[in-house]
């Protein structure tokens, strides 16, 4: 049984870049800043490609919601081994207001439309750290979910997934079709090599808008303020324990 796999990948600010808060305090500076594929989504794409290499998957489709530059992210996925791409266009100005619920609705509709049997996404995006899309998509589709996956194995009609949880590792069995979210140790993503980068240029990317899928992207949240964390203050040294106790009392800590 060969699966059709849909993988979601998000274009985020590269993790090695220093983040700056915008002067209007309503967001971070994104103009002229280097972006790349969300690292957890890279792991998701890598896992999907490996499933294809093991002949468990027959086709890998990469999806990204975003402005025109999201196509670069999809091209990277194609260069890693995805077969075709879908670009759901969201104008740059509206990217800030795009919520995990919108993305979940989009992914759910695409999963149905494309007849996907497995949806893999990164567990969270490194810009908003929401960790919500996989879970909500599964709920919308009424599919089982296996989140924080660090190992995926296929047994007839089901997936055996090892999850990283607070207590350690949990192994669960989920029936297909299912939603999986990739965690750090699932795999080490490959670099796209030159021959594959060139092949990827010929692969198809289909463009569409959220409205085409019947998804309403009206915001439910309003950003009130974005600010830097308070700068760390210097500590003070005290001479002895008595001084320590009195300082703690002063600060209302004891």
């Amino acid at each position: 049984m060969s699966l059709r796999v849909l993988v979601g990948c998000k274009r985020v600010i590269d993790y090695a870049v220093k983040i700056r808060v915008r002067p209007d305090k309503m967001g971070v500076v994104t103009d002229g800043v280097k972006h790349s594929m969300n690292p957890f989504d890279e792991i998701a794409i890598e896992e999907a490609v490996r499933l294809k290499e093991k002949k468990i998957a027959k086709e890998v489709i990469a999806v990204s919601c975003g402005p025109t530059q999201a196509q670069e992210t999809i091209r990277t996925a194609l260069a890693m081994g995805a077969d075709r791409g879908i670009h759901v266009e969201i104008p740059a100005k509206e990217m800030e207001k795009l919520e995990p619920l919108h993305v979940s609705k989009i992914l759910a509709k695409l999963a149905e439309k494309e007849g996907a049997e497995l949806l893999i996404v990164g567990k969270q995006a490194i810009d908003d750290d929401s960790n919500a899309t996989a879970q909500m998509t599964a709920a919308l589709l009424e599919w089982p979910q296996a989140t924080f996956a660090s190992k995926i194995e296929k047994t007839d009609g089901t997936l055996l997934v090892v999850r990283e949880v607070d207590g350690g590792l949990e192994t669960i069995k989920v029936k297909l079709p299912a939603v999986v979210s990739a965690d750090l140790r699932l795999n080490e993503p490959r670099y796209a090599t030159l021959p594959n980068i060139m092949k990827a240029k010929k692969k198809k990317i289909v463009k569409m808008k959220p409205a085409d899928l019947g998804v309403d992207t009206t915001a439910h949240f309003e950003v009130v303020e974005v600010c830097d964390p308070p700068s760390r203050e210097a500590g003070i040294k005290v001479e002895d324990v008595d001084a320590l106790v009195s300082k703690l009392k002063e600060a209302g800590r004891i």
């Binding site: 870049v17 280097k34 607070d166 750090l184």
Partner: protein
């Protein structure tokens, strides 16, 4: 917001935290529940004292007395005079762990005036000194040989001025290179110098050794980019050549004497350096090639087709990559190849640069010169690819499991002879060694040839030197392209410099430091 953590290389503990809480921090790891701290200084037993390992006699210097220590303590305060033996260990031994001195005093001045007072006193008392920056030098030039007083620039780390019109930064010599680069990046500028040791090395040390690094190809040598130097002579006299003008032809260009003389003619206290604008677009290609001939052809091609945007061209052989993958668990982006190249472009227009690079790569691939490769433009990816090249020396230190034993050679050669030297040395040394590998700045004609072995044997050293130096001299190369001469190569400079030149060097030294207190036993040959 996610935590972006930094890993400083070379001698500074690298902490990898692998609990689930930090799974959002982007360190790829294979071990789930392991905390480990790796320090490249404390894992290995101390090597012998240099004075015992090498045949060398102590110069006619005074020995430190309690009176001397009191003088320094009165001048600097007892926090800035270190005389605890355990604390001094790290300062007495070099990064490679192969030369160890026996200094009993380390001084940490904060100002040029303090350096001047210290040197004037030491000159009067005939006490030898060893200037020390980040202690990342590879030729044993940054640590004492006997009991020289170590003068550290660690507390001289103020940036005085950034002139954004001219693009010049003026700072004290103890600024750490990476920190300085980050500072000027706020103004859209960059320091024209980059090397693997950037997290620890001081700009004063870089200038004193005329460091080359990864981007000399594009930004030139420090002899060109350093505009001004303030240094203190052995007598304590302060020589102020700190002008930040790009053009200044008034008299002899004295600052050039301090650039590259490795602290033997003066202690550099301040520097003015020309900073180019920070590039808007950087691309890095990591390529796999089958033969060294292909490497040479690809380099020539890159120069022609990438032209002004080429900012770095490095090559690495298979043995070096194997070492990095095995000892540091860093994975190369592509499979095993006999040779690899890193080609970096820096420019002001991303679209223009990417197009040029893609055309170059497609043609190189099509012609069969390059058999595989990857391109990156994201900072995180480029960081990872550069670390494979920058941490080769660190990987080599860990090659010998019980001892740090890597013999590092840094040779300038005509390009066609480049890899033949590695092959010849490998054959010559046979099974006496663990590994003989080559990598380096092919764009500058600079080969780094490194040899690792299980134990330090005098015979092995004699087997390597002077063969390698004779080989170099035969093709009119340089026995030390950028690492300098320090302690280890001082008796071999005649392979690359005429006796007349060496004689003039000795005269200059005698003129500027008649008592020979500045970094003795270094740079100039023993008589």
């Amino acid at each position: 917001m996610m935590i972006a953590a930094r890993c400083t290389r070379l001698g500074i503990p690298i902490v990898k935290n692998l609990t689930r809480v930090s799974s959002t921090s982007m360190f790829k790891s294979t071990d789930l529940n392991q905390h480990y701290i790796h320090s490249s200084v404390t894992c290995f037993p101390k090597c012998e004292l240099t004075s015992k390992r090498y045949q060398i006699e102590r110069g006619q210097f005074s020995t430190i007395s309690e009176e001397d220590v009191n003088f320094f303590t009165n001048l600097l305060g007892h926090h800035r005079v270190i005389n605890d033996e355990t604390e001094l260990e790290g300062y007495n031994i070099d990064w490679l762990g192969m030369v160890r001195g026996a200094s009993s005093v380390l001084l940490k001045p904060k100002t040029t005036e303090e350096v001047s007072t210290i040197l004037a006193y030491c000159n009067k008392r005939k006490l030898a000194v060893c200037p020390q920056g980040g202690n990342t030098g590879l030729v044993g030039g940054s640590v004492p040989v006997f009991d020289e007083i170590i003068i550290s620039t660690a507390l001289m780390n103020k940036v005085e001025n950034v002139d954004t019109w001219l693009g010049v930064v003026t700072c004290q010599s103890g600024c750490v290179l990476e920190a300085l680069d980050e500072h000027v990046s706020e103004y859209g500028l960059m320091i024209p110098l980059d090397l693997g040791a950037k997290g620890s090395c001081h700009i004063g040390g870089n200038v004193s050794t005329n460091a080359g690094g990864l981007r000399l190809l594009r930004y030139g040598s420090l002899h060109g980019s350093v505009l001004g130097v303030e240094a203190v002579l052995a007598s304590g006299e302060i020589v102020d050549c700190l002008s930040a003008m790009k053009k200044d032809n008034t008299g002899y260009d004295l600052k050039q004497l301090f650039i590259g003389s490795e602290g033997t003619l003066g202690l550099v206290t301040k520097i003015a350096i020309n900073c180019p604008p920070r590039p808007q677009s950087v691309n890095l290609a990591f390529l796999g090639l089958e033969t060294f001939d292909d490497v040479l052809k690809t380099y020539k091609d890159a120069k022609k087709k990438l032209g002004e945007i080429l900012s770095s061209c490095e090559f690495i052989d298979q043995s070096s990559i194997e070492c990095v993958e095995k000892n540091l668990k860093l994975k190369a982006p592509i499979g095993a190849h006999p040779f690899y190249m890193l080609i970096e472009t820096s420019g002001s227009n991303g679209i223009h640069d990417e197009e040029k690079l893609n055309v170059f790569l497609e043609e190189a691939l099509g012609a069969g010169l390059v058999t595989d490769g990857t391109v990156a433009t994201e900072p995180s990816r480029m960081h990872h690819i550069w670390s494979i090249r920058e941490r080769i020396a660190e990987a080599l230190i860990n090659d010998g499991c019980t001892y740090k034993l890597v013999f590092i050679y840094d040779i300038s050669l005509p390009l066609p002879h480049f890899y033949k030297m590695v092959e010849d040395m490998r054959e010559h040394l046979g099974s006496n060694i663990l590994r003989c590998c080559g990598y380096g700045h092919i764009g500058d004609g600079n080969l780094h040839l490194n040899i690792t072995s299980k134990e330090f044997e005098k015979d092995l050293l004699n087997l390597i030197e002077p063969t390698i130096f004779e080989w170099t001299a035969k093709v009119n190369g340089s026995i030390s392209a950028e690492h300098g001469v320090g302690f280890k190569k001082r008796n071999y400079i005649h392979y690359s410099k005429s006796s007349g030149a060496i004689a003039l060097m000795k005269q200059l030294k005698a003129l500027m430091d008649p008592n020979g207190i500045l970094n003795p036993y270094k740079v100039l040959p023993d008589n």
